[in-house]
């Protein structure tokens, strides 16, 4: 009896003396620890990286000539450039670099580094290079078009006259990052421009340097001692945690300071707790559905219109993605030049049925939907399946790995498909080109835009896209985009469903995370813990 009681009381006391649960229930003071999904990173070379988390990481390591502040995303400001000007014909652009800046290595930042970096980006010609090569720059002409005329002056000549602000937005993307040419050259192998080395190392001038990247495990950044501004969190560690539920657990247990991929249901459980706060910020990304025009029924305009009325946008937003997405129905996300907030479509089964009958399909038809099997796509797809059924359309779901879905779409093998789109740079042309332009609808077209992938090509619209990007008057340009979006809503084989909201849930003691509309505008520098 006595023995049993001692055993029981020692059991009760166990949590107090248990040696395994760490005393370090809190993360170190000057270290910010985040839980996030970072298995998409495949390179941290800024001239190669083009994944969400990769971009977010490199933007904290490298600086560009120009950038935008998140407080005023439509205003171009200098980052490494002190001043810049365009020639009257908009073909020649001259940049004057700030004086006295240094890379993390201690090397001074010169116009030669800028020249090296931009030539490197277009010559390596990795995925994001098209952001620069669309201006007529390429590996062959880079040495004439991109020139440092003295230690602080860089002159770039581009191929055709285009709205200068469009060019500047593109330079402010991560592919415009200026790397430390001496360090990179020292680590090059053959003619790889140091690419093999820079994938997993850093040579920049931003607030942080890369200490370690272990794929699908952690990214560790450390403050750059040569950075002129204040870097409050000396160390930023991002841990890969695939499961949102696990991210929530880690946050609640104090093992991380911030969780980046919580779903609405996890956020709800934090909302009422004053120990945590939730930072939300509109993101320039949309979830869209598309209809392949090779499918005979989907090619009928009335059917396309009918299906746009067969989705319960509000119910999906309210019930499935209440805090992480807003209903949005135009291809330009809010926050972009010319973006519209029109919502012409709502769930109207009677109207959808009538339109289907007009199209000669009073009894509906069957169609498949490809989508990535993760959340929230899976829930959204099932909700759409249910409302489609109400108008007589039998939707067969085909969930797959994201890359599998993309592969199908690029091969134009899908019928309907749902995916996520985020712009490549902050100019409206990025989305407009993707969703509208399709000048060559042949199978081996060079540009496989979203419009091409759905075999949708309207010559007048292609011309309008080309005209809008040349327009130099910002107001007129905005007008052109507004018109394009309205036309697109009416006739295109796309239904834009939702616009994303970037959500970071953190302990109440954490502040200062600077979240912008795209991933290369998320900054850790000001983040602190009290």
């Amino acid at each position: 009896m006595i023995r049993r009681r001692t055993f029981a009381s020692s059991l009760l006391a166990a949590p107090a003396i248990w040696p395994l649960r760490d005393a370090l229930a809190q993360t170190p003071r000057d270290t910010l620890v985040m839980a996030a999904q970072l298995d998409d990173i495949i390179s941290l070379d800024p001239h190669e990286s083009f994944e969400f988390k990769g971009n977010e990481t490199t933007t904290n390591i490298y600086e560009k000539l120009l950038t935008t502040h998140n407080t005023a995303p439509d205003k171009i400001v200098g980052e490494l450039a002190e001043s810049w000007e365009a020639s009257p014909d908009s073909l020649t652009h001259t940049f004057r670099l700030k004086a006295g800046r240094k890379f993390a290595s201690g090397n001074p930042i010169t116009a030669q580094d800028a020249e090296y970096s931009l030539r490197r980006a277009v010559t390596l010609n990795k995925t994001p290079a098209f952001i620069l090569t669309q201006f007529g720059l390429n590996g062959q002409n880079a040495s004439q078009m991109i020139r440092a005329t003295d230690a602080r002056t860089l002159v770039i000549t581009i191929g055709e006259p285009i709205s200068p602000s469009f060019f500047y937005y593109c330079l402010s993307a991560n592919v415009g990052a200026i790397v430390d040419s001496k360090v990179v050259e020292a680590n090059k192998q053959g003619d790889d421009w140091g690419n093999g080395w820079l994938k997993t190392h850093s040579a920049g001038s931003g607030p942080y340097v890369l200490r370690a990247w272990r794929a699908s495990e952690t990214v560790t950044l450390e403050a750059n001692p040569n950075y002129p501004g204040q870097v409050r969190s000396r160390r930023v560690v991002t841990r890969h945690v695939a499961e949102p539920a696990s991210q929530l657990l880690l946050l609640q247990r104090g093992d991380v300071d911030m969780a980046r991929n919580l779903g609405p249901d996890q956020l709800k459980s934090l909302a009422s707790d004053s120990a945590y706060k939730i930072q939300r910020s509109r993101k320039a990304a949309v979830i869209y559905m598309c209809m392949n025009q090779r499918h005979p029924e989907l090619a009928k305009p009335k059917v396309r219109e009918a299906l746009k009325f067969a989705i319960d946008y509000d119910a999906i937003q309210r019930n499935i993605v209440s805090t992480t997405y807003d209903v949005h129905q135009a291809f330009l996300p809010l926050g972009f030049l010319g973006a519209i907030d029109d919502k012409p479509f709502r769930f109207d089964p009677a109207r959808a049925k009538a339109l289907l009958a007009e199209a000669g399909l009073p009894n509906g038809f069957s169609v498949t939907l490809d989508y990535s099997h993760i959340q929230p796509w899976s829930d959204i797809a099932q909700a759409i399946q249910a409302t489609f059924a109400q108008v007589g359309v039998k939707l067969t779901l085909q969930p797959g790995e994201q890359r599998q879905v993309i592969t199908r779409m690029r091969a134009r093998q899908h019928e309907m498909l749902m995916l996520y789109w985020s712009p490549d740079y902050m100019d409206p042309h990025s989305n407009t080109e993707a969703f509208v332009s399709n000048p060559d609808n042949s199978d081996n077209a060079r540009a496989k835009t979203l419009a091409w992938r759905n075999s949708w090509s309207v010559p007048e619209l292609n011309a309008k896209v080309a005209a809008a990007v040349r327009e130099r008057d910002a107001e007129k340009r905005a007008e052109m985009y507004i018109e394009l979006q309205r036309e697109h809503q009416r006739t295109s084989p796309f239904m834009i469903l939702l616009q994303a909201i970037e959500v970071a849930a953190m302990r109440a003691t954490v502040s200062g995370l600077d979240i912008g509309p795209i991933n290369d505008r998320i900054y850790y520098r000001e983040t602190t813990k009290t």
């Binding site: 990795k126 794929a215 560790t220």
Partner: protein, 338 residues
């Protein structure tokens, strides 16, 4: 006898590489059949046509399948496993990082499983039909019936979220990252060797729950097999003779009966160990454990074929190697087998 043994060993030396080659071929074909474009895994969705085409040619995807396979195999023979797309590191370097994590987890789980499973199985066999036997049989059957991901989730929920007895998912607290220089890659060993006891304690805490979950499954299997083997022995005449002679029960059970089941038991343990070494995908997923199973799965679903083939080769070698070892033990100890 001795020559026959050598001959069969020689046979293994021939068939082992052939089997591995077959394994590679199957993996290679699966990789080519999976409807994921490997080029997309590298250049992403937005790359312009020329970039896409360049990478496709770099990967040799324009060549006939047999040539691609032949090129891959000859590269492996010269020690070049290629680069993984997902980690942008050489596959060998990846494996040397992920495999020790799995090795560590599987070894601890197996040690726990054997330490608990063997005595339990013996006990159940000795007391066949009793309450204890029934309870043990039932508990081991539960081990065969619970989905491992359910047990893992429940374990996390109870021991981490509610009771806070163990640290959460992952291998180590981020504060201890990079303190220990990897030598064996196994955190427990490395930290102990370098005298980093704080790190060691943290690593023990992290491994306890996932290893415990896996250990339960290995325990269930080992205990059942031990019981079955023991029952077979206890029925033999020599046991009755020993008992009649007045030998103590302890001696009868452990010296005689148990002594005779040691060899098949080792096989069972080795196979269960092999199963765990192949990477417990679901456990690794739930506990964010950076092991080989997760590496293989993620690479597979991203058409990262160099990584898949490399990891498959390791997994296959481990499985076949352990099988071979068991076979040899059998032959050496028990001449009846052939």
């Amino acid at each position: 006898m001795h020559r026959a043994r050598l001959a069969s060993f020689g046979g293994w030396l021939v068939t082992l590489p052939l089997t591995l080659l077959g394994l590679l071929l199957v993996t290679f074909l699966i990789g080519r059949v999976i409807p994921i474009d490997p080029v997309i895994a590298i250049v992403g969705d937005r790359a312009p046509a020329d970039v896409y085409e360049r990478v496709r040619l770099e990967l040799g995807l324009d060549r006939p399948l047999y040539e691609q396979f032949f090129r891959y195999c000859s590269a492996i023979l010269s020690g070049n496993f290629g680069r993984s797309v997902m980690t942008s590191r050489p596959v060998l370097e990846d494996i040397s990082r992920f495999f020790p994590a799995t090795l560590e987890l599987a070894t601890i789980a197996t040690i726990l499983g054997v330490a608990a499973g063997v005595p339990t199985g013996v006990l159940a066999a000795v007391r066949q039909g009793s309450k204890i036997d029934q309870v043990i049989r039932f508990l081991t059957l539960i081990g065969h019936s619970v989905p491992i991901f359910v047990l893992g989730l429940v374990g996390l929920l109870v021991f981490y979220a509610k009771l806070q007895l163990v640290p959460g998912p992952g291998r180590i607290n981020v504060a201890f990252d990079d303190i220990v220089t990897p030598v064996t890659g196994m955190l427990l060993i490395d930290s102990a060797m370098q005298g980093e006891w704080e790190v060691f304690r943290d690593a023990v805490g992290h491994i306890l729950l996932p290893a415990g979950v896996l250990a339960y499954f290995s325990l269930a299997y080992i205990a059942r097999m031990t019981r079955a083997f023991m029952l077979e022995q206890l029925r033999q005449e020599y046991i009755t003779t020993a008992r009649v002679k007045g030998m103590s029960e302890m001696r009868v059970v452990w010296r005689h009966a148990f002594g005779n089941i040691a060899v098949p038991l080792v096989t069972v343990i080795a196979l269960s160990y092999a199963g765990l070494l192949e990477g417990a995908v679901l456990t690794e997923t739930i506990f964010s454990w950076p092991g080989l199973g997760q590496y293989l799965t993620v690479s597979l679903l991203n058409a990262d074929m160099n990584a898949v083939l490399g990891a498959t080769l390791v997994v296959g070698t481990v499985y076949l190697g352990l099988n071979l070892a068991c076979d040899l033990i059998y032959r050496l100890v028990d001449p009846r087998t052939r």
